[in-house]
Amino acid sequence: MGVLMNNEQTVKLSVQHLTKHYDNEGANAIEDISFDVFDGEFLSILGPSGCGKSTVIKILIGLLAPTSGRIFKDGQDITDWKISKRGMGIVFQNYALFENMTVRQNIEFALRLNKETKPTAKAVTDDLLDKFNLTEHADKKPSNLSGGQQQRVAIARTLAMKPDLILFDEPMSALDASTRLELCSEIKRVQREFHTTIVYITHDQEEAFSLSDRIMVMSTAQIRQLGTPQEIINHPADDYVKSFVCDNLAKKIDSLNAIVGGGNDKA
């Protein structure tokens, strides 16, 4: 499990009193939430569908404007900044790859448009293709790749722009179990190798617990608990956290035991 947190760690991102209200909805999508993300940390935002976690990520990247509240990155108030100036990257659940381009072109496209020289862009692309085991697929179109490979292209494309903070919006929802496992270790490797801070959205308890340094549990527009996986397991803040996180995890472990045990019996 991740980096030990202590008071000396630098705050990378600070979210203060963030609220979002949609015109056509009665209740707030998020209600006065505040949290910090430390430099190099892996923070997962865990919650069921509709709890507001996607709204948080869209506000962080700049795709949505908050109704109130501020966002600070490296001490600077970026609440009103243009998306491209924020130095963040995002990996979407549906990959959002450029379907008409090859894997190489997907990674190179933004580099060339951001005035990188052709040799530099090629070198960066080659390096990323290599790091993500995509070299042999460089000339393929995304539609000819598996889901896991497509997600790796999406991550490589994001990293090409050298963001110091990457947001993952439920990146594994569309993947099968074995690909998920593979991609989990890939994402951890990215965090280590590129020294990146990661904010990761998920509704899956296992993903959150296996990947994160800290987990922020959300429900109905609010933060229910923010802490390390051990803290959440050992000291759930309320009944909701206990039921949504701990009990669900326990059920899954029981199911696995039953399957494994059953198999052994038959054997």
Binding site: D23, I61, G62, L63, L64, A65, Q76, D77, D80, W81, K82, I83, S84, K85, M88, G89, I90, F92, N94, Y95, A96, L97, F98, E99, N100, M101, F109, A110, L113, N114, R157, T158, M161
Partner: protein, 534 residues
């Protein structure tokens, strides 16, 4: 601390401004002419139209012929679509191509084709030594069916392609008869499409003047009355009153289509129909397809014969004289090139405009998006004749009148809605997050559009281009009001040649239009095929 100046708001003001400008432009060219048309109507116009007694008769004639032709057309189209999608007959591609051929020539050509066969000197009339009963109701209904069934056929084929066969498998297992499956599964599934097809075909027929003017004889329909009033007698006010009546079914069709939007056409098919051979069913499929093919070819093949023989059907020696007469003697080359130029420019302008508008409505979130979408679909409700009349009322005194620009503008507006819908649907299917990715990667939106989105919509763009081109080549409605002797499209020569009894020349023109359109369709077929494999 540096603070980039750009603020984020719920709606991007630049997007709202672009949508507003497009909305105003469309309103000026779509809504304003209609308002002008309505303003043109005064008491005298009502009196002129209603006093002669012609109007009532024309209205009745229109209703009788249109309703009859619509019912036949819809039934025929459904039978053909069923045969193509649900039987194991061979040569489906060939049949499908034949069925849409009538869409590539002006409606008046169908009348011409029928005259060739069943007119006073028609091949079949002379062969059997009978009297011609073509002119009148029979001719209008026959020609209208030929002209309209391909549209209905395409709509049915499209919806049948998306039907899930699993439910029929389940019905088979439960022992439900084929007839009850049809009544309780197929018909409810097709209900919305049926309504939409019915109104589309009804509007197409009631607003067309090409077929009735060619084979209507003494039976005058509303569209012919409008044409005579506005083009013949230059009485725009009376024309406007009649135009108002033609607008009613067109607006109704548009509204029904708008509120009837398919929830029944799902974007995925759980299981496609597998068509194993069945003798009776396939025999029925062959019969229906063969019958329709004969209908289509019996009208189009005589064009070929007539165009290349000295005097069809009495002197069948080969000649190119009719082509020489039409192209050189009657300046046909000039009008052909003029038509092709107009169609090409309309196709470029129309494709670009419809893509831009569709992009805004499909992918930009602004408070005006829905209004722009509604205005874009409104053009579907304006028959070409009414649009032409409206435009002449608005632009008669302007510098645009008599120019190619006005023809291109009118055609773009006239044919806007269908390509717009094609592109709108295509753009909705493109990943919603592409622009967001572009923003994060600091790639300008226009590069995302040109480099990522447009290539993904290549097939739909080609379809839109082809739609504008083909329809501009064969239209005889709006352009009839707006063109001058110098810039009139080739299609309008058919009526002129026919009125001077120069049937061979009219046939040559129809053949030329068919050839150009078939060439365009073939080119588009290869572009789409390449796009599919790209």
């Amino acid at each position: 601390m540096t603070r980039p100046d750009k603020k984020i708001s719920r709606y991007n003001p630049k997007h709202t401004a672009v949508v507003a400008v497009l909305g105003v432009v469309l309103a000026v060219f779509v809504v304003m002419p209609l308002v002008a048309l309505l303003c043109k109507i005064d008491d005298k116009a009502w009196q002129t139209v209603f006093s002669g007694g012609q109007f009532g008769t024309a209205l009745l004639n229109s209703l009788v012929t249109t309703l009859t032709a619509t019912v036949i057309s819809v039934l025929l189209a459904f039978a053909l679509a069923w045969a193509i999608s649900r039987t194991a007959i061979r040569c489906k591609e060939l049949f499908s191509t034949l069925f849409v051929l009538p869409m590539l020539i002006p409606s008046i050509s169908h009348g011409l084709g029928l005259i060739n066969l069943y007119g006073n000197n028609g091949l079949l009339t002379l062969l059997f030594g009978t009297q011609s009963h073509l002119y009148g109701y029979v001719g209008i209904i026959y020609g209208s069916v030929l002209y309209s069934f391909p549209v209905a056929y395409l709509m049915f084929v499209d919806i049948l392609r998306y039907e899930d066969s699993t439910v029929y498998d389940a019905a088979d297992v439960l022992g439900i008869s084929k007839w009850r499956q049809f009544v309780h599964i197929t018909l409810p599934y097709l209900k919305k499409t049926l309504i939409s097809v019915f109104f589309t075909v009804f509007t197409l027929i009631i607003t067309d003047y090409g077929v009735p003017i060619a084979v209507g004889g003494k039976v005058k329909t509303l569209s012919v009355l409008l044409y005579e009033n506005a083009v013949g007698q230059l009485d725009y006010s009376a024309g406007a009153v009649i135009g108002l009546f033609l607008l009613i079914p067109a607006v109704a069709a548009c509204l029904i289509d708008f509120f009837n939007k398919s929830t029944d056409k799902v974007s995925f098919v759980t299981k496609q129909f597998s068509t194993d051979k069945q003798r009776v069913r396939d025999g029925l499929g062959y019969t229906v397809c063969a019958l329709a093919s004969v209908l289509v070819l019996s009208v189009i093949l005589p064009f070929l014969v007539q165009a290349f023989t000295v005097s069809y059907p009495t002197d069948m020696h080969f000649t190119l004289q009719h082509f020489t007469d039409t192209l050189a003697g009657h300046n046909g080359w000039y009008f052909l090139l003029n038509s092709v130029l107009m169609a090409l420019l309309t196709a470029f302008v129309g494709m670009a405009t419809s893509f831009l508008v569709a992009y805004c409505t499909a992918r930009l979130r602004t408070p005006l998006t829905k209004a722009l979408h509604a205005i874009s679909l409104l053009s579907l409700a304006i028959p070409g004749l009414v649009l032409g009349l409206s435009y002449i009322i608005v632009f008669k005194a302007s510098f645009l009148y008599g120019t190619l620009t006005l023809l291109i503008l009118a055609n773009t507006v006239h044919f806007f809605a269908s390509p717009y819908q094609i592109l709108y649907n295509a753009l909705l299917k493109v990943n919603v997050n592409l622009e967001s990715v572009g923003q994060v990667l600091n790639v300008p939106r226009y590069r995302i559009v040109t480099d990522c989105i447009m290539p993904q919509c290549r097939s739909s763009l080609a379809e839109a281009f082809s739609y504008f081109f083909v329809n501009s080549m064969m239209t005889i409605s709006a352009v009839a009001f707006l063109s001058t002797n110098d810039n009139q499209p080739l299609s309008l020569l058919i009526n002129q040649f026919e009125s001077y009894n120069m049937i061979e020349c009219a046939t040559v023109v129809a053949l030329l239009i068919l050839t150009v359109n078939v060439l365009m369709k073939t080119a588009i077929y290869f572009v789409k095929k390449r796009a599919a494999h790209a």
